[in-house]
Subunit: 228 residues, 2 copies
């Protein structure tokens, strides 16, 4: 009767996550970009795109990639909610460092029940952001997007607060942690070197600020919010 996808296999939910993440950053969601991120062949992604289109999760324009439909976005939200709730739980309740939560959550998210999710949610006090500052969608699939901009877009002398880190690479996160660059940390831009050169920033609250140098590559993935 129903030809569409019923249960979300790990591959399917991973693919949904990738599509959503790319779309969120305003990138074109092409076959090759997704295949590279998932570590599978292009052919596999083409087939996934077709299945997703049949399920009504994406609009698929052959040779031009996909973009999520409202239904697909809801599906993606379910997956991302599981993932981010788990990340926060691992960090808070089990003492995981923030650079390790992603990999563990990636495995757990495929098997936890709705009941498990609800218990986590309650235990964490119905949180709205994960350890990287990424918003946790509500049960209904609503995200409270906090407006921000890349650290690289700040003007010299400006102050702001770290909102989120859009990178899940363990080593990079580990390094940023050493610099003290966690969500909710105050930062100020001292100097931006030309030609995509490194930034000089002040990290921490005014009483114990520390000057740090940060490559533009990394800074691009640090989202900050300016005070009104």
């Amino acid at each position: 009767m129903d030809e569409s996808i019923q249960e979300l296999s790990p591959r399917i939910s991973d693919c949904l996550k990738v599509i959503y993440a790319m779309q969120e950053r305003g990138q074109k969601v092409s076959t090759s970009a997704v295949s590279e991120r998932l570590g599978v062949s292009d052919a596999t992604v083409t087939l996934l795109f077709k299945d997703f289109a049949v399920a009504g999760w994406v609009e698929h324009t052959p040779y031009h990639g996909v973009h999520l439909t409202p239904l697909g976005e809801r599906k993606a939200m379910e997956v991302i909610r599981h993932h981010r709730l788990l990340e926060l739980y691992l960090a808070r309740a089990l003492g995981y460092s923030w650079d390790k939560v992603h990999a563990e959550a990636d495995k757990l998210e495929h098997v936890i029940s709705e009941e498990f999710e609800e218990k986590l949610d309650a235990l964490l006090g119905y949180p709205t952001v994960d350890p990287h500052g990424d918003p946790i969608p509500s049960k209904e699939g609503v995200v409270s997007l906090r407006k921000g901009q890349a650290l690289t877009a700040m003007t010299e002398g400006q102050s702001a607060t770290v909102l989120r880190i859009q990178d899940q690479d363990s080593e990079k996160l580990c390094y940023l942690g050493e610099l003290g660059l966690y969500p909710d940390t105050p930062v100020a831009l001292v100097k931006r070197n030309p030609f995509g050169g490194p930034l000089v920033i002040l990290v921490g609250s005014t009483d114990k600020q520390k000057e740090q140098i940060l490559g533009a590559e990394l800074a691009e993935h640090i989202i900050v919010s300016l005070p009104e």
Copy 2:
């Protein structure tokens, strides 16, 4: 080079668990008995038995089933340790009722990392029994078996303590919970009716005992320890 099984797929670890559980109860581990418990065909189990034999986990006598080698027992212990640690964690930390922990642990046990296991272990204070009274093997695969006997083997008038419940059926556990029959609960046998009839028992410590009637079928799976 190495033909033997490297990573434990869910099917493989589930099969190991079933073999161990049957062997622990002194039952013959036959193809059909295992296939029924796993919900797969006999042919599948025959193939699994062969793989296990090649890996050195079981002695396989064709047409006569398998029994675990010391190596196989160690492998089974790893799987069971994961499972029982998770069960206890779900009950203690997330407030799961004891009749629900089994199903959730069954899914989680296949994906958790060694680091996750260690964090659970430490957080729970290096426990030795799970919510059903089943022993949690140590990291080295050692189980501290507490001697006991089925409730049905008690003599009338005798007192004892519930040691473990050898049943993972959610509904049965739920019912036993209503009767107050948890591990460490004192019980006394008042009367055993003939021909496998129901037992009359006293449940709870002497100040607030309650008389209950219990079918022999259920009582067979309740293991108690007699005082010295």
